[in-house]
């Protein structure tokens, strides 16, 4: 009897999970479907779900009109660059907070997180002026720096949480064996925290890839990533929903594929230490 209830509950949870999953994925699916419609079909009412005249014309128009690969390459450089730079700074920072906490470590962590509560537009002008004066406007280097700074609190927080789960005795033992601080972080701590670091890396790549305030405001033609590529197909005076959907699909496809292949790693990392 107990097993029957448990099975029923299991089935219920599975169905609920599928419904929630599909509901979350539906807007993306709809975007992908719209990208294969004509502009007239994209606005038809009632909308057609699968039975319409499929066309790849929007993709060829988008490829013809925009330099997709330049935007794609900019996105790759900016998201990977800011992630690697962020990890280089965050790993030692999280190590010190997790294993050598000071009196105000918790306050410092909270302060770091509080910087995320500031609306970005509030600091747009000062940052724009600084970037103008140091020649970083419309450069990939500038965006790598600003996205690193924006995502650093999250990276430090995540790594701090993972590092806290690692027994300090192991690090102590490595020190007893004569490991230097550098060796301790690189050869002992980092390999043990690989799942956490990997999920932090993936999450940061996704955040940087999708960031659409700074990447739009600090770039023009040279360093504009895929967020600017999507924005170029949005129009308040003219119906270009099918082309906009094609551009959106092309922009999210790489990160969607990355997320799909790394989902186990991502989930494992995100739930690391969740159950004690």
């Amino acid at each position: 009897m107990a097993r029957a209830v448990s099975t029923r509950r299991k089935v219920g949870y599975t169905i609920a999970a599928w419904i929630i999953g599909l509901a979350i994925f539906f807007p993306i699916l709809w975007t992908i479907l719209t990208s294969f419609k004509t502009e007239a079909e994209a606005i038809s009412s009632p909308p057609s779900f699968l039975f319409f005249q499929w066309t790849t014309e929007n993709y060829s128009t988008v490829m013809e009109r925009s330099n997709y690969f330049r935007h794609f390459w900019n996105s790759v450089v900016i998201s990977l660059g800011s992630t690697v730079l962020g990890l280089i700074i965050a790993i030692p920072a999280a190590w010190s907070m997790a294993f050598v906490p000071a009196k105000h470590t918790k306050n410092v962590l909270m302060w770091m997180l509080s910087t995320k509560m500031l609306p970005p537009v509030g600091v747009l002008i000062p940052i724009y002026l600084i970037f103008r004066d140091v020649g970083l406007l419309d450069t990939k280097t500038g965006l790598v720096i600003v996205l690193t700074l924006i995502n650093l609190p999250i990276i430090v927080w995540m790594l701090y949480t993972y590092f806290k789960e690692i027994p300090g005795e192991i690090l102590e033992a490595s020190r007893m064996d004569g490991a230097s601080l550098r060796d301790e972080i690189i050869h002992v701590l980092t390999p043990m925290a690989v799942p956490g670091i990997a999920s932090t890396l993936l999450l940061n790549v996704i955040l940087a890839w999708n960031e659409a305030f700074w990447t739009l405001n600090l770039t023009a033609a040279k360093a504009a990533p895929l967020t600017a590529f999507i924005a170029s197909y949005s129009s308040p005076e003219g119906l270009f929903y099918a082309k906009l959907s094609a551009a959106s699909t092309m922009a999210i496809a790489p990160i969607l594929i990355l997320g799909w292949f790394s989902q186990k790693q991502l989930v494992r990392g995100l739930t690391f230490g969740a159950v004690k």
């Binding site: 502009e39 007239a40 606005i43 038809s44 009412s45 009109r65 747009l124 002008i125 724009y128 002026l129 103008r132 406007l137 419309d138 739009l216 405001n217 023009a220 033609a221 040279k222 504009a224 600017a228 924005a231 170029s232 197909y233 949005s234 129009s235 308040p236 005076e237 003219g238 119906l239 270009f240």
Partner: protein
């Protein structure tokens, strides 16, 4: 001198020559609409004529573009050499000294050919600061078949009373046909633009000559009550969320009896590739209320050059080409006369080929000519602009007022409450900005 030294010197000289010969690059910020995209596609004709100039395009959604170019020009960021801006920005930016005056355009450009109202909207003290790429006003687009079935004959210049009657006669909610579609989505360029233009024709104004807000006037109350009545009785469901694109989709799907909106929409609704009612569309001037002012606006997407650009001459060459008669002919040659950017030049409206290809041409010209940004309403005002007030504070105030209008349309507050809230918030902002002591 060794061979190596000579080789190095030769290479250095070559590099220097190459740098001199390198093309100048213009970064052009533009909006995403059919005419602008077409210009981008045809720009190879310009670069062939000017091999020393290269073009880099930054295409953005209108609101993103506005935020982006405003930040850049206000901070002298120098990211763009040519900016696509509207009739709202030009007088404000020109007064700040942010734009290069365009008073030395070549004779063959024929600046006197620009439509007078458009030219006036882009000039400050008779100096032109941006050149128009396309201009628009607003007008009534209506379904000729529905009008005929309802026994209505549309005059060329309808009144609001006629519009009310026609909306009632054409509404058939059971078959999802709504008598009238109008903007309801909140935003200074959305419902505020429409309602302000409509209110002008009722004799309402944003401010009196002392910058005192006027939303508590009888004219505003009558205009806004009529707007709400039309939307609620004969409009599409959820009209508080409908802007230009949503209404365009409704009209193209045959769900609007009338649509009052930008003249540029005429080419969309008559395009058989996208519109199911392409051959059943008639045009009329925006309505009036017998007070001598019509409810139509004036807008021109224009090309301006930010002061301080290091490519001023190249930028002038480009903006002159993109808004020239020669460009219009290039579009006609490649895409047909109907696709030539409308509303900028008198000569276009004297061209029989254009008049034949664009059934809406005459009404567009009449609508543009009927617009007077210097005297937008019946009583005198201290500002220029028809659907906007050309002061820097207007974007914020206009959007906040638009939110009040949308709230009334959604039934969240009454017309009186919305107008009172608009009055209070405008007063507060104008006091804070120092217009009212």
């Amino acid at each position: 001198m060794t061979k190596t030294t000579r080789a190095l010197m030769g290479a250095t000289a070559l590099c220097g020559m190459a740098a001199v010969a390198q093309a100048e690059t213009l970064t052009i910020a533009t909006v995403n609409n059919g005419d602008m995209i077409r210009m981008q596609e045809l720009s190879s004709a310009f670069t062939e004529q000017n091999p020393d100039i290269e073009l880099d395009w930054v295409t953005l959604e209108e609101n993103v573009l506005r935020q982006r170019v405003t930040t850049d020009i206000a901070t002298k960021g120098g990211q763009y050499d040519v900016m696509t801006i509207g009739t709202y920005e030009v007088p404000i930016w020109a007064a700040q000294g942010w734009l290069v005056p365009l008073d030395d355009l070549p004779e063959e450009y024929d600046v006197d050919d620009l439509l007078p109202s458009i030219r006036a909207g882009l000039s400050v003290d008779d100096t032109l600061y941006a050149v128009p790429f396309y201009g628009e006003s607003s007008m009534v687009m209506y379904r000729t078949d529905l009008a005929e079935a309802a026994g209505i004959e549309f005059p060329e210049a309808p009144t609001w009373d006629f519009i009310k009657e026609a909306a009632a006669a054409m509404t058939d909610k059971e078959n999802e046909v709504y008598g009238i579609c109008m903007r309801g989505k909140a935003g200074w360029g959305e419902n505020t633009a429409f309602i302000t233009s409509m209110a002008n024709s009722y004799g309402a104004r944003w401010f009196d000559e002392n910058w005192m807000p006027q939303f508590d006037s009888e004219a505003w109350q009558t205009a806004f009550s009529d707007y709400l009545m039309l939307q609620n009785e004969y409009g599409a469901p959820g009209s508080a969320n409908n802007g230009f694109n949503e209404n365009l989709a409704l009209f193209q799907q045959g769900k609007c009896g009338m649509w009052i909106d930008a003249t540029v929409a005429a080419s969309f609704v008559t395009n058989p590739d996208d519109s199911t009612v392409a051959d059943k569309v008639g045009f009329a001037l925006a309505p009036d209320n017998g007070l001598g002012k019509r409810g139509n606006w004036l807008w021109a997407w224009s090309l301006g050059i930010p002061a301080g650009t290091d490519a001023e001459d190249a930028a002038k060459t480009f903006v002159a080409w993109a808004t020239s008669k020669e460009y219009a002919e290039l579009v006609a040659e490649n895409e047909g006369w109907a696709n030539v950017p409308p509303g900028t030049r008198t000569s276009l409206y004297e061209n029989p080929a254009y008049l034949e290809a664009a059934s809406f041409a005459e009404m567009t010209l009449e609508s543009i000519n009927a617009a007077d940004p210097q005297n937008p309403t019946v009583d005198p005002v201290p500002y220029t602009g028809i659907q906007f007030v050309a002061i820097p504070e207007f974007q914020g105030i206009g959007t906040a007022v638009g939110q009040q209008f949308a709230a009334a349309l959604a039934g969240q507050k009454s017309a009186e409450e919305a107008l009172q809230a608009a009055q209070d918030l405008t007063m507060q902002e104008m006091q804070a900005a120092g217009y009212i002591q």
